[in-house]
């Protein structure tokens, strides 16, 4: 039913896979980001936005990732909750700070872009607000895990909260359709294909893939670190008992 998680659910197989997969994703991310940035900086200026349109190449993939990482967090939490799998829980725990970082990046670059374009760092538009709420969900998840001392309880409580937070993702995505506001509507993933010129679309997609690969690499590195931390703790417990 879940082929990739099923293959990787064996910790030994996961450690063997991630050992070479993490640096490989990192190299892929670097190459894609360099290519995307090169295309982005050599693309012609927008007739309305001028040079500031290039902020889009940093901003939009970060906004995509803020939602994608939450989906990963929710999926890993589901697997951790249902199958009580320690590795899935480590994956959820490792994903949350990365997702929060992407969300902060999206909000910060959005503010830098909004200032010249809308004349304001921040507007209480529906989509901006729901991304801010997404950040609050990440923070609540991390705060909950940090304030429960028992790691097993913290893991399950966090997983429940992550699944509750999944309710928020559709609101983020569809808020553009619910409230017709300042923020422009979806222009890449829409019925009838993208409305964007290929000069901008290619660098945007390249950077989107670069962000995805970077997340994959960092996620694997963080899961490996978490696995090692738990092994070290278990070894310390054994040593203390002996």
């Amino acid at each position: 039913m879940f082929p990739a998680p099923a293959f990787l659910s064996n910790p030994e197989r996961f450690m063997a896979f991630s050992r070479w997969a993490a640096p490989m994703f990192g190299v892929i991310a670097l190459v894609l980001a360099l290519a995307g940035l090169w295309l982005g900086f050599t693309a012609p200026e927008d007739y309305q936005q001028g040079d500031t349109v290039r902020i889009m190449f940093i901003h939009v993939p970060a906004a995509w990732m803020s939602m994608f990482v939450y989906a990963c967090l929710g999926g890993a939490s589901f697997l951790a909750l249902v199958f009580r799998h320690a590795l899935a829980d480590a994956a959820a725990q490792a994903a949350a700070p990365l997702g929060a970082a992407f969300t902060v990046l999206a909000l910060a670059t959005g503010a830098l872009w909004g200032r010249p374009m809308w004349g304001a760092w921040w507007v209480w538009d529906a989509r901006l607000t729901s991304v801010l709420v997404l950040l609050l969900f990440y923070l609540a998840y991390m705060a909950l895990r940090a304030s429960l001392d028992d790691e097993t309880k913290a893991a399950r409580a966090g997983a429940i909260l992550a699944l509750v937070g999944i309710v928020n993702l559709p609101i983020v995505h569809w808020s553009v359709n619910w409230w017709n506001t300042l923020h422009q509507g979806a222009s890449v993933f829409r019925k009838g294909g993208p409305t964007m010129t290929v000069d901008y679309l290619y660098p945007l997609l390249l950077l989107g893939l670069a962000y995805m690969a970077a997340f994959g690499s960092l996620w694997l590195v963080r899961i490996r670190a978490e696995v090692w931390r738990r092994r070290a703790e278990a070894a310390a417990m054994r040593a203390a008992r002996a």
């Binding site: 909950l144 304030s147 001392d149 309880k153 399950r156 409580a157 429940i160």
Partner: protein, 221 residues
């Protein structure tokens, strides 16, 4: 059913009894509603423009503050362990506790909401809609708030953690209720906001107890 009824009676009696739960919540609500004009300035025109919104947000905060006693006290004195042993499914138990919370503090707060809004300068014609929104919204606040209260059982700084967990969950009902009130005040169609608020409350009533029960089992394990 009689067991659930007994539990509901216990919850409401505990809330109404020692400590005067609803009165404290009402006092907090009145205090917040008094502080808001002191902070924004007394000009009637400015106050009237934001009166319903302020009354609505103060209501959400008052609902948040009374969440603390929903599970925490039963967890600390061991009553929750006994309640879990009863043949009533834990999901039903959690739903009954939230319903008791709504009867004991949500409904009195809802009755106070129109008064607070009108005192701040909202049009008196708004009163029925504010009451309706506050009653429905109170249900959403109680059932989503219960999730946060159950999740933070046994945590350090439980009360503050509950607020951090619950405030993002309060965003949709606050938006929908505020939109309905704003639309009514401006003579626009307001049904959509109230309908969405009711839908959110219904979803919270249906799904919230599942999450609460899972969280309680986890805390007691």
């Amino acid at each position: 059913m009689s067991r659930a009824g007994a539990l509901l009676a216990r919850e409401v009696a505990l809330a109404w009894g020692k400590g005067g739960g609803p009165l404290v919540a009402l006092g907090f609500y009145a205090g917040t509603a008094t502080l808001l004009p002191l902070a924004t300035g007394p000009e009637p025109a400015r106050l009237a423009a934001i009166a319903t919104g302020m009354a609505w947000v103060a209501l959400a905060l008052a609902a948040l503050l009374s969440l603390e006693r929903l599970f925490e006290r039963d967890y600390e004195d061991g009553a929750l362990d006994l309640i879990v042993l009863s043949p009533v499914p834990l999901e039903i138990t959690c739903a009954v506790k939230c319903l008791g919370q709504w009867i004991a503090t949500g409904a009195p707060l809802a009755l106070a909401a129109p008064i607070a809004a009108i005192a701040l300068g909202a049009k008196p014609q708004l009163a029925p809609l504010i009451l309706a929104c506050a009653l429905v919204g109170g249900l959403a606040f109680a059932f989503t708030g219960g999730i946060g209260a159950a999740l933070s059982l046994g945590a350090r700084r439980g009360g503050l953690l509950t607020a951090v967990i619950v405030l993002p969950l309060f965003v949709p009902p606050v938006i929908f209720g505020g939109a309905a009130l704003d639309a009514f005040a401006n003579g626009l169609p307001w049904h959509a906001g109230l309908a969405l608020l009711s839908a959110y409350a219904a979803a919270a009533v249906a799904l919230g107890p599942l999450a609460m029960a899972a969280a309680c089992r986890n805390a007691l394990s």
